[in-house]
Symmetry: C6
Subunit: 259 residues, 6 copies
């Protein structure tokens, strides 16, 4: 349960669409690059709808049983312990599966019955079929830039969700976020956002992904603690982005131009 | 056990064929694209034949023991717990293995003795050989568009089933379904179905699969909650279908033409 | 133990050869396509020789311990439970390993000591060396059309068996089987067998395997329940055989010519 | 412990070499094709040296613990149970690892300390270091025709053994064996050996391996039970050797020439 | 808890940057070649900040549960035992994941919620969500020279850290370190550093990586124990670096030039 | 603990280097071909330094827990049992990891903290951090001829060891070893060493590796038991080295020239 309103600046109609999906009991998929605010948006909506939020970071070794639950041996008895998805379906929480394409395939199939009009969860090991709480909502996210042939959502999974597209916020709005969360003046924040814009253009020259808003906030936080701005940018923006020496030189030039 | 008649519009002879197969105790395979109504059809037939329905969503980590059952430790004793297939064979239910080609090979072989005239299930771990209840029926489904060399039903499995072919419903019928389940007027539903027809043609230009009836219903549900129709189509139809930017532009054009 | 004589029409000397092998205590391998009667033949011979029959459907996840047996925890004690092969060797049953090439390699090696003049089974986990009952017989089957480099019986396994070759029965005999088991007139059965002959020729044009006798019986059973013969053939013969649209069209033409 | 002298016809100096190796406490590797008498030779030598024989058929899923032993839960206590290799080293038996190249790599390394002058077995799980009984001997076998890059004995393993080469016995000797063990006259046995000679030449035309002496004995046993000789040869020699139709035709011609 | 000040010679601003990151509660990634002092730097900073240090050497078989903790059976009860990451987050230690790219992907994802502003650790198996101690800090290291396509940090992981770049120390400083830790005179140390400089140039001719400061210290330690300097260099610098005979000859020439 | 001096003829400075490394507490890697005396050298040094020797033969399925130890269930309690590496570190033994490149990667990483100046062993499962006994020494060996891209020591592992290079002993010295250990006259031993020299030259014509000193001793032992020398060489030297027929012929010629 999220107690305080998470800071979130809306950049379009996404909150209304999310709310309509919630009312229609439709599951939602969030698409967009790393660190552009998908997780923050879900926290914000959970607070706005007054529902608890249960987040699961998906990974290659996430099995269906990690979502559903399992039997544990306790005081010489086997006790069933609900997994995060089961808990969310029971209590009517929003369950957020972050980076769903990373999960094992069985995990993506286990959510199918929850995403059609049955809204049921079949817990085979317990022999229980759980009808989801009316307020339960399933949200998944993924980064289309990552997908490969091996790691792709199957059509039979995709076509169970409505989609919301995310991107980096517009410059003015991103500067407000960086100033607010990084503890720097708006003018410094604007220069960081200008740098980010140039870095994101480098992307076409070989960077896998542009600098996220989060990295800008990191740089701002170092600057606000007295670190030299150019040094802070190298530390918080350039070095994390790539291991390629030539790209590092290009990024260092961009920093030097601005600080 | 399904209590209320599931909404289903028949588009051919499939119900009669299914019933004849059930009377002849023949197992059935349903072939067709994602979201065209295979699951709904099985629910409808289970209701019509008055048999309980047990559904298993197959996936890469579904082992034979997930279908047959296993020993669990309970109150210091090992207790056998039937899996969904064993339960169905014992009580005479319809057992529906959804997307069977996704399952591990041992799962597809375990059903062999149930699908010839022996109609038996051999539960090696329990040392039990179960003769299926006379009303038991096995139904499998798969999407031929998905099959690859690695994931293909073996001939020795295929030739144990009679087959029913499914496809998207005819336009008039699909519009009736979308209006009924999406809560929109027939004229809006017809425009959505027109859009779907055009999207399904794009398929030949690179879309893996066309828009399912389910996505049309999603769009209708958003529209009925006050979302702008074009926005609803982008959210519920375009974004879920593909991550390709150029295809998204094509789809957006199709939406703009109609709404 | 098989109580009633299983229906089997012999098409050569196979029963005498099988009986001589049983008397000489030689293991037997049955080679032939899917659904041509190998399983039925073993049932018939088990009944004729008055021996119990234990059948194991082999698959990729069949481990040696699934054949030999394992320790189970019961009432706080570990109890050994014989697997199907051990049970057969102990009681003098015929043990039939269906589609042996599908099994894991350890499974095929575990049967070696049972197939030479020692006729012993070494159960390492129990520390027991079991001498097979004099009436015990090992029978394996496989479909040579399936074999690939990866899934092939090793020479050191092959050369422990005498071989029997199976094929689809001659037309007249197959018609008698289809009429008897499918509940249709001989003339309908003959037309189905004619169709099968033509379908089996299509095989050279791309079908992996021809229509099995079992599929003909399925079609006959649907016809005997009032389904239109052409419809029954499409459902029970064409759709199960292939997912290729062009081959389906060819098959549909063959059906139309005959019904 | 082998009670009766196993029938074995020596074809060279192999018995003396084996005995010298045993006296020098050297491990021995037997190289040769399938079914040429390697196993029988070891049985014979075990009987001659008066040592018990423990045979392990190696396979892809044979783990080191299958050779060494493991802890089992019995009457609420964990009890150590020696594996076959440990048992042999303790009691001074001959341990015969058949088709060693099939085993997992950890299995082949576990025998290293037993094969140098330490003659020790390190049982890590038990924390025991066992010095082998003076009469203990390790014998391995493999078929050089099978070896591939993936399945090859490492030099560090090979160079711990002295080697004995085996092949099919000379014709006269093989005929005596077939007559003796197959229960047929010497003239029939000679014709079978002639057939084998011709089949072994076909090998250069595509047969993986020639007909083993064991298959000749199988054919003889069927003939001695009244099966037509040509039929017996097809059943016991041709069908087991290959699934290739053209090679089967060639083999059938060879049979027809002789019977 | 590190009691004595670890010897560390700073070669730039890295200590200030590390401290600012710690104050801003930002996670840090250390990039640089093998043996250039990354581990020593973390020990030094832990001592300087007065925080305990918990180090985990990552490897291919490091699972998330190895970091988080697991249930153990003790005195007939299952007891939860915290893993090193959980312990560090609870007590406010610095947790150092050495060579993070070697770990399994689930391990890298499990740290995500600890590295954004939530600073939480989700221990699914225990159903606990742990908020990290305010003094907790996460540090990871990796060697960019090692990274391959298969073993690369995902952008969604990278962009959660600020980065510090490490390299071999400048010559004068490295000589002081080698003299201090190797127990040799400064002039010997300088010659070893000169050798290292030349060896690091060979790197472009095929050496995977240059000689680390650690290897120079090893050579010094052997020299200080009376080993001939050329011999010590061959033993401690040349032989560990490569198995290539030609590169060894080149390295031997470099040694001969200097000692 | 080794009681009697193991026979070892030094061929260079290796004993002094080993002793200096032991005094400086540096870990040692031994590089060299199969059967050239690496293991014997470690036994000799353990005896000379008066330290117990614990040897572990590494293989593909050696897990870190096999080195560190594990919990075992004993008399209803879980008891920790130290693995060989932990035991050695605790008691100050020499721990010899033979053919380290064969081990799983987690095994090679687990030794890292033992090989830098911390000399610690982190036993995560027990929550114990063990500081190694001052007399503890880690020795690894590998055969550079075996290494492939897949099985290579990482630089971050290599650069933690000083290296000693081994090779077959010089001819005169090897003859003394063969005579001593094989029980033959020096003149016979010299002829065997001459043969070995020629065989080792064949290596360039396709032999993976030359004949080891161990195989020469095997041949000598057979000769000393009355086996014909040419026969003994074929059995103990030629057959173990290769399965290639043409190479066997070449080797047989070499034998014939000398005996």
């Amino acid at each position: 349960m999220i107690e305080n309103e998470p800071y979130y600046l809306s950049s379009g109609d996404e909150a209304n669409l999310f709310q309509a999906a919630w009312e229609a009991k439709l599951p939602v998929m969030l698409k967009g690059p790393t660190g552009c605010g998908k997780t923050r948006f879900v926290q914000h909506m959970a607070w706005r709808l007054g529902r608890p939020l249960i987040t699961v970071a998906c990974h290659e070794d996430l099995f269906a049983s990690d979502l559903l639950g399992r039997y544990l041996l306790m005081h010489e008895e086997t006790v069933w312990v609900d997994g995060p998805l089961t808990r969310a379906a029971r209590m009517g929480a929003i369950c957020y599966l972050d980076e769903i394409v990373e999960a094992r395939k069985d995990t993506t199939v286990v959510i199918h019955p929850l995403t059609d009009d049955r809204r049921m969860l079949s817990i085979d090991k317990k022999g229980e079929t759980l009808r989801a709480h009316p307020d339960f909502m399933l949200v998944i996210s993924f980064n289309p830039g990552y997908q490969s042939v091996l790691k792709d959502l199957k059509q039979s999974t995709r076509q169970r969700f409505v989609g919301l597209q995310f991107d980096y916020p517009p410059a003015a709005q991103e500067a407000r976020i960086v100033a607010e969360e990084g503890g720097v003046s708006v003018s410094v924040a604007e220069r960081l956002v200008t740098l980010a814009g140039r870095v994101r253009n480098v992307r076409e020259q070989g960077l896998t992904e542009g600098a996220s808003t989060r990295l800008l906030i990191y740089a701002a936080q170092l600057i606000s603690r007295g670190i030299d701005p150019a040094q802070a940018c190298r530390t918080a923006i350039c070095l994390p982005l790539t291991d390629d020496d030539r790209l590092q030189a290009t990024l260092a030039d961009l920093v030097e131009d601005l600080f």
